[in-house]
């Protein structure tokens, strides 16, 4: 029983954090379920639980690895449910490609239509499991002028490798703490399904922006 409590409690906290991040989304879900004709039969509650629990088959939110953000908080990707993430894998000591990718994302950020602005979140996941600890990520965010709608994530090597597999990002650690990697910006929908990926540097923000408008 003690063990069960040990497992449940952190999950509970995670879940509550998840609520905090997407209050609006969960709210609308609850309202939906109180409508007459929905969930009024005996199995209603079961269905309701299913609906909250089940992610689309293609959702990357099925990955259960944990991350730490620039505030030091522990999160799982599924905590982003309800948001519209624009995501890239980078490392903060990168001198060439990553700053350009971040500039591309900033450009997208500056052109997002006002009605979507509060929903979109920009996520940077670091390849550098050693150096890009939360404190470093926080400093980097300040240095780069990344506002509150940016989430910078540190994970262990397994989490980073798993995410790279899910996003089809290639990377390799090299001598001197550098990483060779492909440059891909990924747009997820509110359920964590990949909607669009743009590869390369100096992206034209147009296609990404119109994809965001459609979500």
């Amino acid at each position: 029983m003690k063990n069960t409590a040990k497992i449940i409690f952190p999950l509970l906290i995670l879940f509550l954090q998840g609520c905090g991040n997407n209050t609006q989304h969960n709210q609308s879900r609850r309202e939906g379920n109180t409508e007459p004709g929905q969930g009024s039969d005996a199995s209603g509650q079961g269905k309701q639980l299913e609906a909250i629990k089940e992610l689309p088959q293609e959702s990357v939110y099925q990955m259960t690895e944990e991350w730490h953000d620039q505030q030091g908080d522990t999160i799982q990707l599924k905590n982003l449910r309800g948001k519209i993430p624009v995501l890239a894998m980078v490392f903060t000591h990168c001198e060439f490609a990553c700053p350009r990718t971040i500039a591309d994302m900033k450009k997208i950020s500056s052109e997002i239509p006002p009605d979507k602005a509060s929903e979109v979140i920009f996520v940077l996941v670091s390849f550098d499991t050693e150096r890009d600890q939360p404190q470093r990520l926080k400093e980097f965010a300040e240095m780069m002028g990344l506002k509150d709608n940016w989430l910078l994530l540190h994970g262990d090597e397994e989490a980073v490798r798993m995410l790279s597999m899910l996003l089809d990002v290639k990377y390799q650690k090299q001598a001197g703490g550098y990483f060779a990697h492909s440059n891909i910006v990924t747009l997820l929908n509110k359920e964590g399904v990949i909607v669009r990926q743009e590869e390369g540097l100096g992206l034209n923000p147009g296609p990404m922006l119109s994809a965001i408008s459609g979500l």
Partner: protein, 269 residues
């Protein structure tokens, strides 16, 4: 209401845990002795086909630490045990995120191979995610690309053929209807069976081949591997056998399944 929330959270937690298959066993061995069915691969160096530094002028050997590696690829029968213990990895239940539609398509059903001939043949039609999950469930891991390449470079025993000759003979065969029984093709000097000649094998970081620095795209990987003129980084441009293997890896995504792509597990000493 409070009770309902509690109930809900427990179910929610159950959902979260569902994809973490608990380890079946963690092979406990006296230090240095290989677990059953595994070989202790000694530390050593080898020249990778594609260099870490991607610099044709500084062909560097790569040092590989000692590790344990399965002596044979994982078989259909072994993989079935995993699926039975972790039904979320059954063909009808695996989410599309973790495997394409070809997943275990050569089996008769979710929990049935349905062909006695292939029970002890290497399992194929499995994604990287499935191979990775199986390894974790066994308390093991997938070998890294460097480990696998180093282990696969060892010379064959009892044959007058080189590794390269075995591979080229394999490539030139028409694809077989059923894969040979694991361990029946050839043994190398480390004591490993069938590193070539039966199935290609997933490695943990198969997506780690990035061409020429951090500005290149995935498509550049393909271009550089396939353009003869741009095959810089390759240690031996005549090494067609290795070239094929690296090009194949470069074309994979982790959710792909292929009828002649299997895996074997590794473990730290």
């Amino acid at each position: 209401m409070r009770l309902q929330i509690g109930y809900f959270l427990i179910l929610f937690a159950g959902g979260l845990l569902a994809f973490h298959a608990p380890p079946e066993r963690s092979p406990q061995t006296p230090s240095g002795k290989a677990p059953e069915g595994m070989i202790r691969i000694p530390a050593g160096r080898y020249t990778p086909f594609y260099s870490v530094n991607n610099d044709a002028n500084t062909k560097q050997d790569v040092a590989v630490k000692s590790f344990f590696l399965d002596d044979k690829p994982v078989t259909n029968a072994e993989f079935l045990t995993f699926v039975k213990a972790n039904p979320q990895w059954a063909r009808s239940r695996i989410p599309a995120l973790f495997a394409d539609s070809g997943y275990l398509k050569h089996w008769k059903g979710d929990l049935e191979i349905g062909n006695i001939q292939i029970e002890n043949s290497p399992v194929s039609n499995i994604s990287w995610f499935a191979a990775n999950a199986y390894s974790k469930w066994k308390g093991l891991r997938l070998p890294t690309l460097q480990e696998w390449e180093y282990a696969a470079n060892a010379a064959p025993t009892g044959e007058n053929k080189s590794v390269k000759e075995i591979i080229l003979a394999w490539y030139s065969q028409p694809s077989r209807k059923t894969l040979p029984v694991a361990g029946s093709v050839f043994r190398n000097e480390f004591g490993l069976y069938d590193m070539h000649g039966s199935v290609w094998e997933w490695v943990y970081d198969f997506n780690s081949i990035v061409m020429g620095g951090d500005s290149r795209s995935n498509s550049a990987v393909q271009r550089e591997l396939f353009c003869a003129s741009a095959a810089f980084g390759a240690a031996d441009r005549e090494d067609y056998a290795s070239f094929m293997r690296f090009a194949f890896r470069g074309s994979l995504k982790a959710r792909y399944t292929v009828s002649n792509l299997g895996f074997r597990c590794a473990k730290d000493l």
